[in-house]
């Protein structure tokens, strides 16, 4: 019988930033409540059931092709997993409406961690989704956010989006993402090219990787420079971008689905790390707290990133901001920084200290613990 449950309509573990996030947040929850139940998506080689000490991990493995049906099936499945713990369950921590619905039906307290909003993100992948359908999804989000005892958001931008959906302001708490400090002497990855600029993350359209590729095409004269893309998704899913890189003749190295522990070394030895997010509604209205930027900072590597409110919140003046969606300007910023390695190193150092002083996962967990304190006291 568990006192706490964490539900996520995400595969866990995986190479994605969401998995890092889930690991840290769930750890705080389960440390506090002496274990708990983790309900996530399975697939691949992942076992459907796993027990690690006092934590039970159960994975949803049904094959349901339609995404809405799959989400619904996940909710029903999760409700059944929670049912035996109904009498002891004190708190549920969720990341999306599909986890929030079954959690709400238990009567336990609900902490809703809103890293993204499906009503904003879904249309990127599912362009045929009608406005009326998205309105229903938004209604669902509103229902869950309003019912939650606490809403945790990683950035001020999403804080506003959540408030627009009716979450009570005094129940919304800012818990920025973080990164673990990277030891200064982390060894260079054996296969790393000489001098390289790095991109780490997923490849959805809003990440702006195409902008980065176009910018890199303009740096063809820097013959000793390679672009390394550490993609959290498989080669097959990178196909359109790989084709684009080929067409542009970019000197590029693809590293797919590296174990998270290896990424830090790649980041630490890069000249620069780039976060070329686009200025679409996903980044402007919904926001995010890009883990790649936090991790680059923690690795002491200077960051060049799109000038968006969500990025400013993370990077402050410890990095270089460029207008989004402008390959020429991005190329220029990269070229200039590379010409002043001292300034570049200094920028990276300051970013590292900024993270170490207040934005490690330890800090994030302490902020989350504060939220749990308030929920319990309520």
């Amino acid at each position: 019988m568990h006192r706490a449950a964490y539900l996520a309509f995400d595969r866990f573990p995986s190479a994605k930033g969401s998995a890092v996030h889930i690991r840290h947040m769930a750890a705080e929850l389960f440390d506090r409540y002496g274990g708990g139940l983790l309900c996530v998506l399975g697939g691949g080689e992942l076992p459907a059931y796993q027990r690690e000490g006092a934590v039970e991990i159960v994975r949803f493995t049904d094959v349901v092709p339609n995404l809405l049906d799959r989400a619904g099936a996940f909710s029903r499945w999760a409700a059944d997993r929670l049912a035996p713990h109904r009498d002891t369950l004190e708190i549920c921590h969720v990341r999306d409406p599909w986890g929030a619905l079954p959690a709400l039906s238990t009567g336990a307290r609900l902490v809703y961690e809103a890293n993204g909003l499906p009503s904003i993100e879904l249309p990127y992948h599912w362009p045929l989704a009608a406005p009326s359908t998205l309105a229903k999804i938004r209604e669902l989000e509103e229902h869950c956010l309003q019912e939650a005892d606490a809403v945790v958001v990683p950035s001020r931008v999403i804080l506003k989006a959540v408030a627009d959906r009716g979450a009570e302001p005094d129940r919304v708490h800012l818990v920025p993402n973080g990164a673990d400090p990277v030891p200064a002497d982390v060894p260079r990855p054996p296969t790393a090219p000489g001098r390289y600029v790095i991109y780490v993350g997923a490849l959805q359209p809003w990440q702006g990787v195409d902008v980065l590729l176009r910018a890199f095409a303009r740096l063809a004269d820097l013959t000793d420079l390679t672009l390394v893309v550490c993609s959290s998704v498989s080669p097959a899913r990178a196909r359109p971008l790989r084709r684009l890189a080929e067409r542009l003749g970019v000197r590029i190295r693809w590293e797919h689905q590296l174990p998270h522990a290896d990424v830090a070394a790649w980041l630490a030895h890069a000249e620069l790390s780039v976060a070329p997010l686009t200025a679409g509604p996903r980044n402007l209205d919904q926001g995010c707290s890009p883990i790649k930027v936090w991790e680059s900072m923690a690795a002491g590597t200077a960051v060049v990133a799109s000038d968006l409110p969500v990025i400013r919140e993370v990077l402050g003046d410890h990095g270089r901001l460029v207008p989004p969606d402008r390959p020429a300007e991005l190329a220029r910023a990269i070229r200039v920084l590379l010409e002043y390695p001292d300034a570049c190193r200094d920028l990276g150092e300051r970013a590292r200290r900024h993270v170490e002083d207040g934005f490690t996962w330890k800090h994030a967990r302490a902020r989350l613990a504060g939220v749990y304190d308030r929920v319990e006291a309520h």
Binding site: A79, R86, D87, E90, G107, A108, A377
Partner: protein
């Protein structure tokens, strides 16, 4: 004489209505017609009684009354409904257990925990289909008082309360009727057990981690738990 008119009005009310006003509760067993008489009497209350001391206790009109009305619909001509209602609230001293101390970690210096148990409604009805329906509702409050010494050396006392509600319903099945698991599962917040034996019964229980916020919600919760037991027969 003060309040003469209102006192006279109370004297004309149904005896259980009077008990609600003066004792904030009652225990009685009646057929549907008598409960209908109580309902009629209660509906006259607001028009006649102004004095706040004689106001009806909370939950009377928005929970108890509609609940009894619905259950009476199922009594049948010979059935009776027994009700014990205690609407004095959870803060009556008799409902609290003695405080006991619980272990603490610094900076807390000491802490006590007090449990209060308020079984505010209990009823039994013999229904026209031969079922026996029992409903029990209990509010439970945990109060923790923590004494802390602040950095300035000042002693502070913090209070934390947590109220939960237990709704338990038992339906004893009519003779010869078997229980069957329904097609769709009950809502996750209701636990159901099917008990076999000489006379089978269906038990449905819900533990609410927060009290319903309105009379409507409270009534909904009770009726939903009770109705659940009727989904477990064909």
């Amino acid at each position: 004489m003060f309040w003469r008119k209102q006192k006279a009005a109370i004297a004309g009310f149904h005896p259980l209505h009077q008990a609600l006003i003066l004792e904030r509760g009652f225990a009685a067993t009646h057929p549907a017609a008598e409960w209908a008489a109580l309902a009629a009497s209660l509906h006259r209350h607001t028009g006649l009684i102004r004095r706040s001391k004689w106001a009806l206790p909370p939950r009377t009109m928005d929970v108890i009354l509609p609940l009894l009305t619905e259950i009476c619909e199922d009594l049948g001509p010979k059935g009776v409904l027994a009700v014990t209602a205690d609407l004095r609230g959870i803060h009556v001293p008799a409902k609290s257990h003695p405080a006991r101390s619980i272990p603490v970690r610094p900076p807390a210096r000491s802490a006590t925990e007090t449990w209060s148990i308020d079984p505010w409604l209990r009823l039994h009805a013999g229904l026209r289909d031969g079922s026996g329906l029992d409903v029990l509702i209990v509010d439970r409050q945990r109060l923790r008082r923590v004494t802390k010494r602040g950095s300035s050396g000042k002693t502070k006392v913090k209070r934390k309360t947590q109220i939960t509600q237990l709704i338990k319903v038992r339906r004893r099945l009519p003779r010869g009727v078997a229980g069957v698991r329904p097609q769709t599962a009950p809502p996750a917040w209701i636990g159901v057990t099917l008990r076999d034996g000489e006379r089978r019964s269906v038990l449905a229980a819900a533990k609410l981690l927060r009290l319903p916020q309105s009379g409507d919600e409270q009534l909904d919760r009770i009726l939903t738990v009770a109705t659940e037991t009727f989904r477990w027969t064909r």
